[in-house]
Amino acid sequence: MNGTILLNVEDVSRRRAGRAAVTDVSFTLNGGEVLGLLGVNGAGKSTTLSMLSGALRPDVGRIHLRGNDFVASPGVARRLIGWLPENAPLWPELSVEEHLMAFSRLRGANRPAARRAADAIIGRLQLGELRRRMAGVLSQGQRQRLGLACALVHEPALVILDEPANALDPIQVGELRKLIRERAHAGAAVILSTHVLAEVVAVCDRVAILHEGRLRHDAPLSGDGAGTALEATFFAIATGAAA
């Protein structure tokens, strides 16, 4: 599915707590593409990600994933998504393996298929030693890896990662980047929301910058000077100089 449009976001708006959190956001995302979503706090990143994950319904606008309308058939669309929310919410009383089995089973896999999927992602994310450990006793970095495993266990077409490098050590960050590229090579589209510009430069093909709920920049990242150019663009938008 590399190169074909997987996600189509059309004029999406959403009000939260009485104010416009996201206004007229539109973009498309191809299979195999990694999009970095940047913005200062309150820019509308989390609201956008919540709408893309299906947790929030847009007030207006349409979101199509592989042709499935999020409003008309949210269940079908959401099965194609793997979502890692910020701070990786988990059930503290369940083990790593139980989480992965549950997320697989909840998406309709039978027990043997869920077991195979859990084993595969445990192996890929090197969670073997933590397999039987309860989520409640995991360190923040381990929780983050488990959250990531839960998002990827069903091999989703669209992976949404909100601050996935939170609490990871440099080696784990390197592993995360490799994993994101790996999923993209396999044809999945990835949306990565982060505050760390270097993270976007290192792993993304394209970058979108949200400011005050509006999409102010959407362009590919390429070339040796991509990092410097992105930094300049980001600060110009964030400080209002680019208005």
Binding site: A55, R57, R78, P89, E98, A102, R105, L106, G108
Partner: protein
Amino acid sequence: MSVAAVAQLELRRLAVRPLAWALAALTLAWLAWTFVLGLGQFLGAQVKLAAVADAPGFTDLVAIPLLAELARLAFLVVPLMTMTQLAGERRAGTLALLASTGLSPWRIVTGKYLAVLVWLGLWLLATLAMPLAVGAESTADWGKLAAATWGTALLLATLAAIGIACSAATSFPAIAAAMALIVTLVLWTIDRGAQAAGVSGGFLEWLSMATHLQNLLRGLVVTSDVIWFALAITLSLGLAIRRLGTDRERQ
């Protein structure tokens, strides 16, 4: 399939949560004590009872009071069991995660409801084991005991549905428990005022949960009572599903 997966997940969580075990241990100990006391009084009154024609037996004096005691405890236990089902999940952020798997609100609510029902069913069975163990060796009125058990099961199912609905309405488990307790107590006592005024047979009497349970505890299975419980369960679960469905609009 997904309903079963939600129920299974919830049962697993209940099984490793200390609250479920603590509630089961404490309430069963209390019920066992109540049973032993009731049995002692029943055995002590054997001579007097033998002299009375159509005297109440083991079922009336020991088994049904035990189920009535379980019903009383359920008003406190069920809200505690259901309070975290949706409110706790919403507060922890796992409800949105659960919804992101593509599960519809009715599947989430039904799965969680079934898990609570399994726990309550085991609680009822463990309680019932006490009179059954003794009743097997005596002349228990099995029909009356079956009707009372059915009534208690319907009451538990209704309390669980109300608890789930209250849990769906808030993000705070303690508020969910308090709401469930108040709603169920109001439903239980709603006709007290009418009774005190000497009015009977009105709408408030029909609305009262006590009216419908009393018949079943007396051994009378009346269709209208069963329909009342079915309506209460359907309405409560419907409200929970509706509230969960609006989560995507509300946040």
